[in-house]
């Protein structure tokens, strides 16, 4: 009999990191290693309750464990936030396509992320940084609502800043500042002004809440990117992960099978993509 693709792999929660008041990162160790490529997603099961899709945020080069960064947003994510170290969950996957890294080689790579949408971009960033020689540069633009909503703080504001100062740069902004914040204030779209990049030889990868994805993509068009230079991670209701259950249909594609990474020119004609 064919392997049962509905069956989750038993997985231990080995660590939990509080990222923001509503976001936690869960470090997971599946009973059998579950390799993934940056951009692909997994289905995480709360035993006896149900499952939900998440894109791992850890380096795809780490084989024995993976991390998922999860915002408390509904029933399943609420239960996940109640998990403790040592608890058992289930994982299925990985599903969907990955970021096409070979198409990014030799280029200025621009990452644009907002809120919990930084999760897939973190995995992508770690994959890019792992082989930084292959890319001309990486600029990571990231927006959060307030300073306390910034996730991966120790990476974003500290560790990653010292990786390769010539090739890897950051633009970090918050919508609303507080007394502690000395950095940029404004929506993530403001970080896309005055880009010091060779736009003809650049790609942009966008991930975040739908409204942010919409305006960041429009802004990229305004500053001179073509549609075929922009990659979007589409968040839809990916339930089975295999193009069968029908929930994540996006025009004539399934986000779970044909995506979740889509080049913008391939989906820009579809109605309701930003909803």
């Amino acid at each position: 009999m064919i392997d049962n693709p509905y069956l989750p792999v038993k997985t231990e929660v080995i660590d939990i990191i509080d990222e923001s008041p509503t976001i936690k990162t869960f470090c997971l160790r599946p009973e059998r290693p579950m390799g993934f490529k940056a951009g692909q997603f997994i289905e995480m099961t709360v035993p006896g309750v149900g499952e939900a899709p998440f894109t791992p945020s850890s380096s795809p080069y780490e084989k024995s464990r993976l991390e998922v960064t999860i915002m408390k947003a509904g029933r399943i994510t609420g239960m996940i936030h109640g998990l403790k170290k040592g608890d058992a969950v289930g994982l299925r996957g990985p599903f969907g396509n990955e970021y096409p890294l070979s198409e990014f080689e030799g280029k200025d790579v621009l990452l644009v992320g907002g809120g919990v949408g930084l999760a897939p971009l973190r995995a992508l960033f770690l994959a890019l940084a792992h082989d930084i020689d292959r890319y001309k540069s990486v600029l990571f633009c990231c927006g959060s609502r307030t300073p306390s909503d910034i996730i991966y703080k120790d990476c974003m504001l500290d560790k990653w800043q010292c990786l390769d100062k010539k090739k890897i740069k950051f633009r970090i902004t918050v919508d609303r500042k507080d007394d502690s914040w000395k950095g940029n204030v404004g929506l993530v779209t403001t970080t896309l002004d005055k880009l010091d990049l060779d736009l003809k030889n650049s790609v942009a990868i966008v991930c975040g809440p739908p409204i942010m994805m919409k305006f960041a993509t429009f802004k990229l068009m305004d500053v001179g990117y073509r549609q075929d230079q922009v990659y979007l991670s589409m968040e839809k209701n990916m339930s089975c992960g295999m193009g069968k259950c029908g929930h994540c249909r996006l025009g004539n594609f399934y986000a779970c099978k044909d995506g979740p990474v889509f080049r913008y020119d391939r989906i820009s004609h579809i109605h309701e993509i930003w909803d």
Partner: protein
């Protein structure tokens, strides 16, 4: 393909022999309608092998309304093995739905083991329609009222018996194995063709009344009408019951439900309806199809735009079940005809 003739008593013998290997289901009449029933000692007595499709879509046998697809984190796992299913009397509109179902459930890289094994192990003895229903419109979708593929054996009712045709190696093997039950079809094969022609003519006149646009124009018209008022108007009487989805032989969507069962955690797969508010909703509440009109349009989008692009076929077989099932009297033929109006 070679044709044979089998009389009714011999077909009954064949069915009883097959029942040793298979769970055999046949359509029987209840009121004006036909429903599948598991064949028992009575054999084919009461079975209606002509007429039109049964009320239940054929998918029910290969993709049940609700079934356990996984038990997890428990040593105990009693996967019962059941005898494979044989259907006698499936109709062309239902066989056509396999084009959709096979695409969804048998495609790489994630084959659905439950569907695939039922398809591979199962047996289908289909039969010609001998009449048409009020809601039948298969011809408008490009499907004949008699099976042309996706069967192991097809039988066409003629006088006191049936003209049989093998449609697969499995079907041929069965005919060879029970060869003594069959006779030469020579006296009957011309009759089969004329019966088919006559029914097609009658159905053609019936379908013409609906003014459904030609099948090669439907997708283009649908795309043009995407922003039309048609969807809001049509949605006025929709009560979001999902009956059209559940009764449709080509609707394949499902939802996974986990529960704590007797033998540990269980994952159930259950038919879902794209007309329900929660269908496309994601965590946090964002929903690309908040309005009922959007969801109704989505049903047509899937059938008449998505499937033509992906498998060069409609996700509709013209069986007309949804027309009968809809409490809001939404008639898919009328919606299709309105696509062509300005």
């Amino acid at each position: 393909m070679d044709l044979y003739f089998i009389n009714r008593p011999n077909l009954d013998r064949l069915a009883m022999s097959l029942a040793k290997t298979y769970r055999v289901y046949v359509p029987v009449k209840s009121g004006e309608e036909r429903f599948y029933k598991k064949m028992g000692e009575e054999g084919l007595e009461g079975a209606v092998l002509g007429e039109i499709r049964a009320v239940e879509p054929l998918k029910s046998f290969y993709f049940p309304a609700r079934s356990k697809v996984a038990g997890y984190f428990s040593e105990k796992n009693s996967d019962r093995t059941e005898r494979p299913i044989a259907i006698i009397g499936a109709k062309a509109c239902d066989l056509a739905s396999f084009k959709v179902m096979d695409y969804v459930y048998s495609q790489e890289p994630f084959k659905d083991p439950f569907y695939v094994s039922r398809r591979e192990e199962g047996l289908i003895i289909s039969s010609d329609c001998t009449t048409h229903g009020q809601t039948c419109f298969c011809l408008a979708i490009g499907i004949m009222p008699y099976p042309t593929d996706n069967f192991d054996i097809n039988i066409s009712e003629i006088e006191s018996g049936y003209v049989a045709e093998a449609g697969s190696n499995k079907g041929e093997k069965i005919i060879r194995e029970y060869f003594k039950l069959f006779q030469s079809a020579a006296p009957y094969s011309e009759k089969r063709e004329s019966n088919r022609r006559q029914l097609k003519d009658r159905l053609s006149r019936h379908v013409e009344k609906s003014n459904i646009p030609p099948s090669d124009a439907v997708q283009g018209l649908f795309r043009k009408k995407f922003e039309s008022k048609l969807w809001e108007e049509t949605a006025k009487t929709c009560v979001e019951c999902g009956a059209c989805n559940f009764i449709c032989p080509a609707c394949h969507c499902f939802v996974l439900k986990d529960q704590n069962g007797e033998e540990g955690f269980e994952r159930l797969r259950q038919w879902d309806s794209c007309l329900l508010m929660s269908f496309a909703r994601v965590a946090g509440g964002a929903n690309p199809r908040k309005l009922l009109a959007q969801r109704l349009r989505n049903r047509f989008d899937k059938k008449f735009n998505f499937f033509p692009d992906n498998i060069a076929r409609f996700g509709c077989t013209g069986c007309g079940r949804c027309v009968e099932a809809c409490p809001g009297k939404i008639d898919i033929r009328e919606v299709l005809s309105k696509l062509a109006l300005e």
